[in-house]
């Protein structure tokens, strides 16, 4: 009876536990992994060094101004020194907020178009185009914003000001609207759109096929499918993309510097001429202080440290959210 014998053997075999494999890497592999690990962790070293050296250089300014660094609007680093980020920080945040208000819906719409609506032949060219948009130098955005966009957007600005009751200067001159926070925000939004678009498109295109077909099988239109499958699936990715875009918008330097004229009294009036940001303050001001120990340079380092800390927190949160949504690629 071979069958009976075999069943008896089956019962005596213990549970089907996989045997643990201990792979002993060779010396060469150990060295190789060490080198790779060191290169990987070098990004932490760089970030740490940035923090340490900005702190070292900024210490003098922080010590001098103390808490007033956060509440002072002026930026006077010559003899009666009096400087702080109470004007430049909120202006910069306002520029970034305007940029995000424009860029997030636009970026999501472009991403949806590319991943869901565009004809297959157009998909690759459009993806390339968005990549190209990310690679256009910020100085070109600055030139374009200053010479092309600014004269054309003044009409829209004055209309917004007059009819939505934001801002209504008594002689409605173009110079009252030029170089405003709003224009800087519009230009920065164009630089954020490719970030939001490419990250959102990646998560949208990962929406599972089964659910998509399920929605269609239940009689959904394409928009119904997008609304009930693609958008909920991509929500985390969109939030992460938004935060990474916000980090970019907060730190944009050259385009903002070219477009705005510095203003020192913060106001929520985004259409009014004059604005500011930490990054553009650094770009404009650094050349006045060639001396390593000067207070002016230390003040700039302090402002830079604030900007760095802020963007690092925003970006890291965004990267964590993006990393979660990219579960297919998770390590381990």
């Amino acid at each position: 009876m071979p069958a009976e014998g075999s069943t008896r053997i089956m019962t005596t075999v213990p549970d089907d536990v996989p045997r643990t494999i201990v792979a002993q890497p060779s010396t060469g592999d150990k060295i190789f992994r060490g080198i790779l690990r060191a290169s990987g962790w070098s990004v932490f070293v760089i970030t740490g060094l940035i923090l340490v050296f900005l702190l070292l250089r900024a210490a003098r300014a922080f010590k001098f101004m103390g808490f007033a660094f956060l509440t002072t609007s002026a930026w006077i680093t010559q003899s009666p020194q009096h400087f702080g980020i109470a004007a430049i920080l909120p202006f910069g945040i306002l520029i970034a907020l305007i940029a995000m208000i424009i860029a997030v819906p636009t970026g999501i719409a472009i991403a949806l178009y590319i991943s869901e609506y565009a004809p297959p032949r157009l998909k690759r060219p459009l993806i390339s185009l968005i990549d190209l948009m990310a690679a256009i130098p910020s100085i070109i955005f600055g030139l374009w914003g200053l010479f092309f966009l600014m004269p054309r957007i003044l009409g829209l600005e004055s209309w917004l000001g007059r009819h939505l009751g934001f801002y209504n200067p008594s002689p409605a001159l173009a110079s009252n609207y030029a170089n405003s926070t709003f224009i800087a925000g519009v230009v920065v939004s164009l630089m954020v759109i490719p970030i939001v678009t490419s990250l959102s498109r990646q998560v949208f295109s990962q929406a599972p096929v089964g659910e998509r077909e399920g929605a269609y099988a239940l009689g959904s239109t394409r928009w119904g499918m997008v609304r009930t499958v693609v958008l909920p699936f991509g929500r985390a990715g969109v939030i992460g993309a938004t935060m990474l875009g916000l980090g970019r918008a907060l730190g944009e330097t050259i385009a903002v510097t070219l477009i705005i004229v510095p203003a020192w009294h913060f106001s929520f009036n985004v259409l009014q001429s004059g604005s500011n940001s930490i990054a553009s303050r650094i770009a404009v001001d650094f050349s006045n202080y060639p001396d390593a120990g000067s207070m002016g340079l230390s003040a700039l380092m302090a402002a830079g440290l604030v900007l760095f800390g802020m963007t690092l927190i925003v970006n890291t949160l965004g990267a964590i959210v993006i990393g979660r949504s990219r579960s297919g690629q998770a390590t381990g």
């Binding site: 992994r33 990004v43 130098p137």
Partner: protein, 387 residues
């Protein structure tokens, strides 16, 4: 067994009949509704704008036209289709315009810079001279970008040389070693891709220039550029390394290869074209960075070919400097430098798309031809031996 296969795949069916049915989802009604809404909105906008309502400005005109167009299209659509279909169509149209808008903006920026810059680049002096000859009031025929072009290329070469090995090694760490410890590294690399570029310059200023004592130079600027390029290289390379098929790695391990031999001789060569794309894309980003260079390169009006001594200028820095001058000739020069910069970015971009076209391991036409040649040569040799 043999009969099973024969019944499963009837050879009587010609494979040509298997062509997929072409599904058309654009009908004449769709196109006519779209066109009608567009023309109607344009006419209404033309009547209302500046004539009846107190609006002005070209941009506002098109914004109003677009709003009117969407309203017109919605009403035309609701006359023909049910509620769900109307919503679907209107959303499709709205999303498509955003795709068009992005295309238009990119084309407009490139074309605007090219057109305005052409006034400068058609003078040969613009390419061969530096700003040493030009005074503040010199016409456009005097003074050029030779020094900035040299500076840009040298800084780009140096920063690529520094960021690429580190970036690819970090990507290999994320893709090949991995583990729990790799997760924070990936998060930080992601976060660093959109770190403010001016911070890189400020850091090099604080660390390398002021603390170590390296003078402001092209080398210092390349260090700052390398910091901004590193996360881009690492991020893009990791994506490429992840799509290398695992079976190739397993084949290498099965032949007794160690991990480092597998990575260096199987994984990296397989992903070669994708890695090259990652590098070129990072170069395209690095070449246009102004802020890091601004703080630590200094600014030079004369030719300086040594990146380790004296101040240097790059094309974006040159543009930034010229645009702040009140003279028209300087503005033309700024757009001229922008022209050259855009052309360089476009060249790098085209290279990236050309080499990155195929999947990992897919051969280019030239590689296939070379293999065919080698095959033919081997067969000839074999023929000679037997004959």
């Amino acid at each position: 067994m043999a009969t099973d296969i024969a019944t499963a795949q009837p050879a009587t069916q010609p494979p040509a009949a298997d062509a997929p049915l072409r599904i058309r989802n654009v009908t004449a009604e769709d196109l006519l509704s779209l066109g009608g809404a567009a023309v109607g909105a344009l006419a209404l906008d033309w009547v209302l704008y500046e004539r009846i309502l107190p609006f002005s400005g070209a941009l506002g005109f098109w914004v109003c036209w677009y709003v009117l167009f969407l309203v017109a299209y919605t009403s035309i659509a609701s006359m023909q289709w049910d509620r769900l279909a109307v919503r679907d169509k209107v959303v499709q149209v709205a999303l498509s315009t955003f795709g068009l808008l992005a295309t238009a903006i990119v084309i407009d920026q490139v074309a605007y810079t090219l057109v305005r810059g052409f006034a400068a680049v058609r003078h040969s002096s613009f390419w061969t001279q530096t700003m040493a000859e030009a005074g503040p009031l010199s016409p456009i025929t005097v003074g050029g970008i030779a020094h900035a072009l040299v500076g840009t290329l040298e800084m780009l070469a140096l920063s690529t040389f520094m960021s690429v090995p580190l970036g690819i090694a970090a990507a290999v760490y994320l893709a090949e070693v991995g583990g729990r410890a790799a997760r924070p590294v990936r998060t930080l690399v992601d976060a660093m891709t959109s770190l403010p570029d001016i911070i890189a310059g400020l850091f090099i200023l604080a660390f390398v220039v002021l603390t170590i004592g390296v003078p402001k130079s092209g080398f210092a600027a390349s260090l700052a550029l390398a910091i901004t390029m590193l996360p881009i290289v690492a991020r893009a390379s990791e994506t490429v390394l992840r799509i290398v098929p695992g079976t190739l790695r397993e084949a290498s391990y099965a032949l007794g290869g160690s991990q480092w031999r597998t990575v260096l001789m199987v994984v990296l060569p397989t992903a070669r074209s994708g890695l090259a794309t990652a590098v070129v894309l990072a170069m395209a980003r690095g070449i246009g960075e102004t802020a890091p260079v601004l703080l630590v390169a200094g600014y030079s009006r004369v030719m300086n070919v040594n990146p380790f001594a004296n101040w240097m200028t790059s094309l974006p820095l040159y543009t930034y400097d010229e645009i702040q001058s009140p003279e028209t000739a300087d503005h033309v020069r700024a757009f001229g430098a922008g022209f050259v910069l855009i052309i360089l970015v476009l060249i790098l971009f085209t290279i990236a798309r050309r080499i990155g076209g195929g999947a990992p391991g897919e051969l280019t036409r030239r590689q296939r031809r070379r293999i065919a040649r080698q095959d033919a040569a081997m067969q000839r040799r074999a023929g000679r031996v037997t004959g």
